[in-house]
């Protein structure tokens, strides 16, 4: 739109007056009406098969139970040190996320380089992009369900699941970083007579580390949230106990698990946001 106004100014060879600018203001009403129309059609289409059938017989009791559980958590469970208590399960959840993210980040490096169009020939790059897209499309829970068939239930299964799932998103972010590489630096290193190894050490790695670490930390954030649900299918972490308590209606225990989970995720999110801001803007 701004270009259009500039062109008009050039053709008239003078600045436009405010009134003229207003007369040439961007008109997006057609786009917006179209969007609203599409939305209305979509909502009526999808609303047709989703019915509100009221609360279940026990619905009211469940709702009340959840609220009472959150307001009166089981304190013994919350601060205990046994293997079924909240702190241990939270640590285990974190351990799964740490290992899963680390392995995922390492596995993602070859994928990212193979899928970057400025390094690999286009057909190879696009092939690897499809593979990455496939990894990303399959929900993590489905990955977990498949891995459990291979490795059996337990925290180890959670680690493998997260290592594989993380590849998808991490390598997508790595690719962006690799494709943004400033090649002029490599050219000047070349002119100085550097070897290939020196070019990588002083030309490539310093450009990539910050964005790679930032992407990894971001994924750690997501993996931690994901790890809390992996337990539902038996892949370790806090999820299994939380769902068991929900299904057997032990609300006080549900409350303490939910509180533990919230506090952990909030703390990690806070730290990761600060570290990433530092990586992006320097000290």
């Amino acid at each position: 739109m701004a270009e259009k106004l500039e062109k008009l100014e050039q053709s008239l060879d003078r600045k436009l007056t405010v009134a003229e600018m207003y007369a040439n203001r961007p008109r997006k009403w057609l786009l917006y009406t179209l969007i609203v129309l599409i939305l209305v059609v979509l909502v009526t289409w999808s609303g047709s098969s989703i019915h509100f059938e009221g609360l279940t017989v026990t619905g009211r009791e469940v709702a009340r139970g959840v609220i009472s559980g959150v307001t009166h958590p089981d304190l013994k469970l919350m601060f205990g040190t046994g293997e079924t208590d909240v702190p241990y399960l939270l640590l285990q959840t974190m351990a799964i996320a740490v290992l899963g993210t680390l392995f995922g980040a390492i596995l993602a490096i070859p994928f990212a380089f193979l899928a970057s169009t400025n390094i690999m020939p286009k057909p190879v790059a696009y092939l690897f992009r499809v593979v990455i897209l496939m990894i990303r499309t399959i929900p993590s829970l489905v990955w977990a369900l498949m891995w459990i068939r291979v490795t059996g239930p337990g925290a180890a299964c959670g680690v493998i699941t997260q290592s594989v799932c993380s590849i998808g998103m991490i390598s997508k972010m790595y690719i962006t970083a690799i494709e943004d590489l400033d090649t002029h630096i490599l050219e000047s290193l070349d002119a100085m007579g550097c070897t290939a190894f020196q070019k990588i050490r002083y030309g490539v790695i310093p450009q990539l580390t910050a964005s790679f670490i930032s992407a990894t930390i971001y994924r750690f954030d997501i993996n931690l949230k994901d790890a809390t649900t992996l337990g539902i299918v038996g892949a370790g972490g806090i999820g299994a106990s939380l769902v068991q308590c929900l299904n057997s209606r032990r609300w006080a225990m549900v409350g303490s698990f939910v509180w533990g989970l919230m506090v952990l995720v909030l703390i990690i999110e806070f730290i990761s946001t600060r570290v990433r801001r530092k990586l992006a803007h320097g000290e």
Binding site: S46, I50, T58, G59, V66, A95, L133, G236
Partner: protein, 283 residues
Amino acid sequence: MENENTAPLKLTWFDRIFKPQVITLPNGHSTVRRRSRAPLILLLLLIAVWLSLQMTGFDLSLIVRKFNKLLDLFVKLFHPKWEFFGKVVGPLVDTIKMSVLGTVIGCLVALPVAVLSSTNICRSRIIVGVFRFILALIRTLPTLVIALVCALVFGLGTFAGTLAIAIFTFGIVAKMLYESIETIDMGPFEAMEALGANKFQAFWSACVPQILPVYLSHSLYCFEMNVRASAILGYVGAGGLGITINERIGWRDYNGLGMVLLSLFVVVVAIEFFSEYLRKKLS
């Protein structure tokens, strides 16, 4: 030049223990370089990894031992059972409907809340703080847990899934939106107020045109995520594709599972492609 060289470095506790290196330049100036933090960070990371390995009992030989089983699974996944497609369509359409309706509801609710939790529009720090805290809490809850509670309260089916997606969308879109609102140009808003418009009029014609494209783009992005996320909600009984996936894995019918995942992949890619196109148009 002189000032730059002699400007004192901000010393942190780390620099007090490991004194910065002093480099004297050929022209007589001296400058200090901080010691690298990399060894410390690496050490901490190693400790974290070691602890995580202990806690999860992860063992790489597990994959090597079970490699045949894994290969068998993947071979079957890549030979989808085509005739199973008829049974996939219904749940797949349900999943899409759930995510459409959930996204629309979540985004509509998110708009006013995002406005109320952005510091440049809402002057009351208490309101901003309260809304942000609530949003942060909602974002920490895993979607599956929300879906499970919804399924317990409202009965099994698509309604519980839709509600879970709406809550999840609300948390994310509101957060992304208030972050964008805080970066908009408040100049027009002040100008309108100076001209005698009331707060609502000023907001409507100065801020809404700036916010709207961002809002739509965030909503589309969230919709992309929701299609993927809602595919697994069926696992806890909230309707959609998850039920089919769980059933296929339970029966070890990996060819059928391959078909389910393939159709999910096609739908997700199509939606992602479409939404990326729209988002490019909006910006």
